[in-house]
Point group: D2
């Protein structure tokens, strides 16, 4: 049976992301206490893959994830999931909101429902929990930690809690991005809508250095979906860039751009090509089509013979 | 008396960052339960400034801070602080590490001392706290939440706890960056080493669009210290870039670059120019010196007359 | 009375270009034996302006003209003319083509009608002349230099010759460009369709150096109509670029681009802004409109106050 | 026996350039009356190669040469020569300068010695000749066209004339560039110092279009030695660029840059790679070395497998 680790405990948005995978419902799902530990299970071979948050998470681990993937030299990204961030108020027994005197949840979740709480349950005390799932779980203890918990819909459902209110997040429409990480193996097949993730060390810290890297993408018509500079930890001015690109490494435009960057930053790391969760179709102009690359290469070869 | 809010509770790294400010020791320091609430105090005028974390924090709030500053239209960054991230184990009474059976701390802090804990106190149970300071505070309760707490050195000192072990973080040398935010007022004076923070909406999501923005910096010799793309929340492909630049808006090269970007992305927001915490001196080549800008402007004016 | 010099003798395409100027018909037109001598007359004040060829000329002087203008430090371009290049066969008395045994013309003109001559007058001997006009003039001498001459329509008309054949050029549709040069004075008024000519010394001979200059134009939406690298004569790798730009120096986008280039190449020379002969209207996008520059400057000024 | 055509007549600087070729002294040298006719001889197979002027010539043909090569689809450049431009005054019999009452030469040569003539032989009449060689030749006619001629040293030597004065050019140090053109065949071997000539049609006439072409060179560390925009003759705004690049098509950096440009401008024409006449050694940085290209390609291939 396929086994996946995920940033736990049970019922996190990360598990919800994992459940989007075909076959995940039947797979064994192993909660991990941190992103690093979820990834370590993959490296050690105790699971087949790990689902971890990568952007805007309410459960932490965000900024750490890609760095961890990068440090763990033998992991690749093979998929991504998008999960809408929405919260419910859940309790063991049915009760009106006005009867709630204490609410357990993780501090990040609390920050995201604060305005709702001030208006709707101003009298309720906030009880910090190590995760939203742990807060909900605490309702089932002999001495419940609180009257109610704020959690993902999945947690409430898994624990059989009563949902008193839903959609209580102050900002609606937020989405968290998750990636599925495995040991290196065959790169997922190219689709009509793929992403490629790379880490590019900045070769030199001076004006224009980043632009010279980006030129390799723009001259090949490769759009950048996400870019973040991160300190390497080797001291001042020593950065790398974490980037998601539109396209698959099997496309000539992506391969050619990465080839160019390898020359100026040979420590570039390829973290994977995988289908986009949003299925947004790619815009590939004629001059960066595979056909244009083939024609250009054939022309040069004819000249060099 | 000057009043500053900070991401609390007392004893956070954020308070340590605040204490680096000249005069902060004597100022009134008001802990806030979230970055947003610290910033709101500034906006409402109940404090003169707020110190909030901006990068790699162990106390959360990181990715939210700049976004919050950006949403809150009337706040500017006037300074930055760097605080080394280091943890201590503290207890109410002196005790050996081997005697610890439970340890309270925030989940982020716990993630950063995990390897130390597995090796040194494998028997100890982890008790989640809403912050490292809250965990330490909990030691002083009638029924202490745990035997010991993992916190910043500042918390242990403020609470008069015994430091049993220090420097227990798994990765040493980490530094967290904080910024001091105030209502708009006079921009801090130019020094030899300044930074400028801006938010630039991406005018169009296509290959090369980011590069066209960066060209405005490279043609003026302005180095980029940090760049992060962030979704605006208005849907797919709608990004802005959060950037720290070397230099002060009173330098011609910075002003000229921002002028250029304003044309292509008129919703650009200036969040402040302020002295760099690391005091790294600037490298300004002759062609982007104020003198070169003046000479060029004088030349053009002579031609247009 | 206004006086203009032009690359002579009478009847050249250059005089035809001069005659396109409003008022030139009534002005005194002084033929000069070389571009340099035409320009020298302007500098010395003996004429008000000089019309000289600048591109694709059949009468020589082409590559020398802008260089000469550049060396002559006190001259500006104030206008341009386009003249279609077409040739006629002219003789003193009417005669059939088949009766022509010798044809006088300048070697450049001869090169441009060679194929016609081989087919139509294969028996005719080519008699070199110092200019097409001199060849035509030679038909009127006591001992005519040839039976017929190949010249511009203007020469034949001015000398009262018979036009035996016209439109005999091997390549039809060719156009020669001429510029009107004066002492520095008020720059011609901005129209809807202007050009600006500059000379930009290459600050450093290395890969990317030219691109860094061109970036100043592309970031301001200024199109380049003509570019030519020319050795400065100071030795290997010492170049300048002669460029025609779309737009007038009174437009912010042009002024801003030239200001930027002045910083990296302070010896840049402005040779003039003047109406385009082809009246091709300009495409100015919103982000490089004068309004966008004004708004950007106002924004920066508000921040720096 | 090898046969070469050259822009004649005998004794031109072009013949001097031809004589720089190893073996040219013994080869048959065929003067041609125009660049086009010299090139036509190559195409028709009546000669093995043609030497034609390409830059700053005193003998014409300059701007036409590359265009002609381009139109004639089956010719390549295989070498270049540099000839210093210097003039002598020559006569049939020895005579003092003061005794000269007329001087024959080509108008371009006359323009280049004008200042010398005004000072040294102000009384002498200028007699136009169809070439400097023709002027010199005319001294040997039964009725000499002039007392003396202004020509290249080679002409005077070939005709056995007396050199009365030498080095009379107004600007010393000028150099003319010539290229040797043959039918397509094996590209000359790579040396330490090569040039490559290409013609690149501008894909679109808008701000930044040229820069996008040049980026392909700068991202591969390929320096541009010469660039000239030329109208294609297809109407307004329809240009191509004639460019000389540092490097040989057998170098990866050159091949990769041209491959990139072929995608955006598929009608690019390769006119040849050949040793530089000035033997200036190339500066190839590590990131654009053949080794860097190989390593980058090997990396990508390993990822795509």
């Amino acid at each position: 049976m396929t086994r996946y680790s995920f940033l736990g405990p049970s019922g996190t948005f990360t598990e919800a992301a994992l459940l989007q995978l075909p076959g995940a419902e039947e797979a064994e799902r192993v909660p991990a206490s941190s992103v690093l530990s979820a990834l370590t299970m993959v490296e050690e071979g105790s699971v087949d893959g790990a689902m971890v948050p990568i952007e805007n998470s309410v459960e932490g681990g965000v900024t750490a994830t890609l760095d961890a993937v990068s440090v763990a030299h033998n992991l690749h990204i093979v998929g991504e999931s998008l999960v809408p961030i929405t919260f419910v108020v859940a309790s063991r027994e049915p009760m009106p909101l006005s009867a709630i005197s204490s609410l357990a949840t993780h501090s990040h979740a609390w920050a995201q429902v604060r305005r709702w709480a001030e208006v709707t349950v101003p009298h309720a005390e906030y009880i910090p929990a190590s995760s939203t799932a742990a807060g909900a779980q605490g309702l089932l203890a002999e001495n419940p930690v609180a009257d109610a918990a704020i959690s993902s819909p999945l947690v409430a459902e898994q624990l059989g809690l009563h949902v008193i209110a839903s959609g209580i997040e102050d900002v609606s429409g937020a989405v968290t991005r998750f990636v599925l990480v495995t040991k290196p193996g065959p790169t997922p097949e190219m689709t009509e809508a793929d992403k490629t993730t790379v880490m590019v060390p900045l070769p030199e810290d001076r004006p224009g250095a980043l632009m010279e890297i980006l030129e390799h993408f723009s001259t090949r018509g490769v759009n950048i979906c996400r870019i973040e500079s991160r300190p390497t930890g080797n001291g001042m001015g020593d950065y790398f860039f974490s980037m998601d690109l539109e396209g698959h490494i099997k496309e000539s435009r992506v391969a050619d751009a990465l080839t160019g960057i390898h020359r100026v930053s040979p420590k570039i790391r390829f973290l994977g090509s995988y289908p986009r969760a949003d299925r947004k179709p790619q815009q590939v102009t004629q001059d960066v089509s595979d056909a244009a690359f083939s024609a250009a290469r054939a022309w040069i070869e004819s000249l060099r013979r």
